[in-house]
């Protein structure tokens, strides 16, 4: 995994952790759907996306929700759109 990927992963997990501080990031299986592993309802999920937009500058439009289901998916999606 590139350094860039690791940084993105850390940033995404920090955002999730601010909204759902009870989660243990170490227990997240990165290639399994995120929302079934941790307790995020649809409003939490929209807040995660809004925070990614605000803090990382990437807007994830509704038509791309299917690409950001897993943690790996989110990181890959953002990596493509963030400068190296």
């Amino acid at each position: 995994m590139s350094r860039n990927h690791e940084q993105i992963r850390t940033q995404v997990l920090a955002i999730v952790k601010r909204l759902a501080p009870e989660i243990d990031p170490a227990r997240i299986i990165p290639d399994k759907p995120l929302r079934t592993q941790i307790d995020l309802d649809s409003m939490d999920w929209l807040n995660v996306l809004a925070n990614i937009h605000e803090h990382m500058g990437v807007n994830i439009p509704e038509c791309d929700y299917g690409k950001v289901v897993t943690l790996d998916g989110i990181v890959a999606y953002l990596a493509e759109r963030l400068p190296e």
Binding site: E22, T36, C63, G66
Partner: protein
């Protein structure tokens, strides 16, 4: 400009116009009910079709998150529910025992609900986003005997509180490997395999309890609204009149069965009609939903304002290249649907969205914009056939009086006697009695009725919170926060939100020697989410030096809310 009236479709509808001939005995006759008074929801929903020419029709089509689909015919569903019912019997479950379900929208959930109904058990669905405390509280109140859940949910939410639930004799895991890896649980697949597929039906009557739906009030713990097997008459009649649902339709109710809509209309009503129901196991995803509506050729779609607003937010490009020639009728429930959303349906799907109104206590749709009526965007519509509604003046300590003058705000009241009316709040007879004035059920919702007989939602008569269409009791949230050692007091309100209607916000006063800092805020958020789950926990926590109280010491949530919204705080004369 937005139209004030959307004319009904000229296409013939099966719906009865209000005022045309309708009687509840006639509905029973249409359903082929026997004269001996025996009636069972699952028998009508499943077995009746399994023993008819429609046996091989698809009852449920499960769309897996992984892209796989599974069709279950009425014949298969009858066998699966017989096996489940027989498995329950082998565990000693008898008529009247309470069976809880807590899992994703997978086949096993639907089999469990219908199989339990078959053997006369009372079924209570729990929402997957409930944390341990809402789960414990509800199972304890109902003395639940069986819980059907997944290994993951059991380990995360239930295992730690098992000792506090002595009534809970059996936990059936839908996804256990069969190796018996988790203590004090049983593997459902093994039970089903070993159970005979002989008819499991236990004779039930129209007034036997069938369903228990927990709902929240402003004070106290959640109330379990108890419904009877006879409620199925309302499910059937309202699906026809309010949803225009027909036996050959493909129907998609997007509500989760953890809430009352997902049970009444996501499980029971379409099956009783003999329709095919789509179940999407995945979480909300706008593009996926558009794809489902198009490729599954959904005829009737029953959804909710929050989902509609999210689809609207996605913009018209989401719909580019998609067509919905099969989609005939769209309905929404959960909270009043704004007129823009009603009309947006016309742009996006070529169909307006029909708002309707009901609540856990009513068991089924009561007031609706139907296919037989012109739509007034923003209105909840008119009472369905068999439902008699009034607007009443309801002031504590004074007799309830009818308001006949159009466009006057009062409380919505329904004449008792519709089949799916709740028959009690479990263990709380006084609270049940308080809901009635003579032959009127008082709904707690404030409405006005216009000169054409359409009802318009105005607000709640209490300060209950409605988030994403679901009632949340402030007391339940406050109680959980108060359990944290740093918290002296907590007040909880619904903060208006453009997508969810309201989101839960907590105001917390900390004990005098505690620092109210960001670390504590995150700790309290984690605590509340661990206890209550994402659906009930606050989304925002703010520290305040003190909370406003009445002279009698109650927290004035209305004042907290007025302050949050920057509104005039109104009459504060009862403040201490």
């Amino acid at each position: 400009m937005r139209p004030l009236l959307i004319r009904k479709s000229p296409v013939d509808s099966l719906s009865l116009a209000p005022g045309s001939e309708f009687s509840w005995p006639q509905v029973g006759h249409d359903l082929g009910l026997s004269a001996d008074g025996h009636l069972n929801i699952a028998a009508l929903a499943v077995d009746r079709h399994a023993h008819s020419a429609r046996a091989d029709r698809t009852a449920f089509r499960f769309l897996g998150a992984d892209g796989n689909t599974r069709n279950v015919s009425y014949r298969e569903l009858a066998e699966l529910t017989d096996r489940f019912g027989n498995a329950l019997k082998s565990l000693g479950v008898v008529k009247g025992d309470c069976v809880f379900v807590l899992c994703d929208r997978v086949c096993a959930l639907y089999v469990a609900v219908l199989g339990a109904l078959k053997v006369g058990a009372v079924v209570s669905p729990l929402f997957q986003s409930f944390g341990p405390e809402p789960i414990r509280n509800r199972i304890a109140q109902a003395a639940g005997k069986v819980l059907v859940t997944s290994s993951s949910l059991y380990q995360r939410r239930v295992a730690s509180l098992r000792a506090e639930l002595p009534s809970l004799e059996h936990v059936l895991l839908i996804d256990d490997s069969g190796a018996g890896g988790i203590a004090d649980t049983l593997d459902l697949a093994t039970l089903l395999r070993d159970a005979p597929n002989t008819p499991a039906l236990v004779a039930t009557a129209a007034e036997d309890p069938a369903l228990l739906h927990f709902t929240s009030g402003t004070t106290g713990l959640p109330k379990g609204a108890l419904h009877v097997h006879g409620a199925v008459l309302t499910h059937y009649a309202s699906a026809r009149s309010a949803l225009d649902l027909r036996p050959d339709d493909v129907f998609w109710c997007t509500a989760d069965p953890g809430w009352v809509t997902g049970t009444s209309y996501g499980i029971i009503a379409p099956l009783v009609l003999g329709a095919t129901s789509i179940v999407d196991e995945a979480d909300f995803d706008p593009l996926r939903w558009i794809h489902i509506l198009e490729s599954e050729r959904v005829n009737v779609w029953y959804t909710a304002p929050t989902a509609i607003r999210l689809l609207m937010k996605a913009g018209p490009e989401l719909f580019a290249g998609h067509r919905f020639p099969d989609l005939r009728f769209i309905a929404s429930v959960g909270e009043a649907l704004n007129p823009e959303a009603v009309c947006w349906g016309l742009e996006a799907f070529g169909r307006p969205i029909h708002d309707n109104w009901w609540q856990s206590e009513t068991g089924g749709i009561m007031i609706a914009n139907t296919a037989a009526l012109d739509i007034k965007p923003g209105s909840m519509g008119r009472p369905l056939p068999g439902v008699v509604a009034h607007v009443v003046r309801h002031v504590e300590g004074e007799p309830v009086t009818l308001i006949e003058t159009p466009d006057t705000v009062g409380e919505l009241a329904l004449e008792t006697g519709w089949p799916s009316m709740f028959r009690g709040y479990l263990g709380q007879p006084a609270r049940y009695r308080d809901c009635f004035a003579g032959k009127l059920y008082l709904t707690g919702d404030l409405v006005r009725r216009d000169a054409d007989g359409y009802y318009w939602f105005v607000g709640r008569s209490d300060d209950v919170i409605k988030s994403s269409g679901h009632l949340i009791g402030a007391f339940e949230v406050e109680s959980a926060l108060m359990e944290h050692p740093a918290v002296a007091e907590a007040g909880v309100i619904g903060k208006p939100d453009v997508l969810a209607g309201e989101v839960i916000k907590a105001f917390v006063v900390v004990k005098h020697d505690i620092a109210a800092d960001e670390d504590l805020r995150l700790e309290l958020l984690a605590h509340a989410r661990r206890r209550l789950g994402a659906a009930v926990a606050p989304k925002e926590i703010a520290f305040v030096p003190a909370l406003p109280h009445t002279r009698s010491g109650k927290i004035m949530r209305r004042l907290l809310k007025a302050k949050e919204l920057g509104l005039p705080e109104g009459d504060c004369s009862t403040l201490a």
